[in-house]
Symmetry: C2
Amino acid sequence: MQSTPARAVTTICQALQEQIEHGLLVPGGKLPAERTLSEVFATTRITLREALVQLEAQGLIYREERRGWFVAPERLTYDLIERSHFHAMVLDQGRAPATELLSARLQPASAVICARLRLPALSSVVRICRLRRIDGRGVLYAEHYLNPRYFPGILELDLGQSLTETYARDYGIRYGQVGFEIVPTALPQAAANALRVSTGSPGLHITRVNSDQHGHLIDCDLEYWRHDAIRIRACAG
Amino acid sequence: MQSTPARAVTTICQALQEQIEHGLLVPGGKLPAERTLSEVFATTRITLREALVQLEAQGLIYREERRGWFVAPERLTYDLIERSHFHAMVLDQGRAPATELLSARLQPASAVICARLRLPALSSVVRICRLRRIDGRGVLYAEHYLNPRYFPGILELDLGQSLTETYARDYGIRYGQVGFEIVPTALPQAAANALRVSTGSPGLHITRVNSDQHGHLIDCDLEYWRHDAIRIRACAG
DNA sequence: GAGTGGTCTAGACCACCAA
DNA sequence: TGGTGGTCTAGACCACTCC
């Protein structure tokens, strides 16, 4: 059937996959060192790494820059329609969310952001960069861009919390229409660094453009997810 | 700023990226041979290939099994809300669609399909496998599973056409509610073969579960897209 | 049949993480 | 400081594509 006569890489993938599926390697657990594994499978590190990269692409294992390889936990389900925010979503699914504020400041908007928010050239926007974790593992790097007109003084608030809740509590703003754009691509430098992922590894880029209950474009956010950490759901019709 | 002192791989990526963005390499065009490129950049094939794989992950270039590397065309925009079908979508975006029927038959449903279509164990389903192309390039491998109860005699019809139109024309069935599930993962063997992609390369897996205008679950399809060929849009609220 | 990509070997050095 | 992962070298053979 299969013309390929059992590649070394394939054999290694299957062996590891079997061990993982049978629970001999637990989610979040660390794999043995690459050199050890390459001895176990009687091959070179290069070949072994190719197998690991393939399992990484499948989402079965993941890598932490310079720390090693780990068994991937279950994906988070992200429902496009039931607009929940990160903390609630993660809690609902029995996991522990955390948010780390990386930076927040007022700055000139890039051309891309001006277009998304329909702002004139050289407008200022509030830019908030955050890292989100599930059970301690960084899964999402997000850049929020807010139209400052709707959010006076927001830089003084606690931005480690849910923005959705801050909007409602401090500004009386709730989300109305939301536009999504989902693109599978490599993680850009900033996202890769924050997620401690090697540069150029596959990721999922989600752009959200948010309007409030009155139809004003209030903000947008650029989300970069580890590709193995997410499953998107939606219902239409 | 950047602690890394300009890796060889990074340098190569930037050089190629620049050439592509400035149109010296046109979409669909073939890159020079790997050995040629490795000489141009004064490095080994292994290192050069790593750079190519990274550009592939970014969606800038793609590979055709044993045929070489090519510059990736623009992505197709797939709108979850405006339920259009493949042919119409592709035409609307000024491209040329094509569909190739790979197989079609009645067979016992797998457990996964039974669950999706809420069928009892060991039910039979119609399974239709197709390859879809844009401007001649294979971008989507799709497996359709139809509840045969709603589609008597469908295996006798021309399945190279739009199923959506066949449903409407021959069975008076239109789509009602549709459920989506989107998961970034490696392409499985069958999809990789059909798309002439190397096994285990990254892809996007979309599962659709379709109801008709009366709310009956009529079919589902498992779609496997080249990760660089698609951009998903949706609007909610 | 020539050339290409797919696969694999057998090393090496460095930077960083953990102990 | 030892071990790990990140990166790179300099080859090799095979199967397939394309001429």
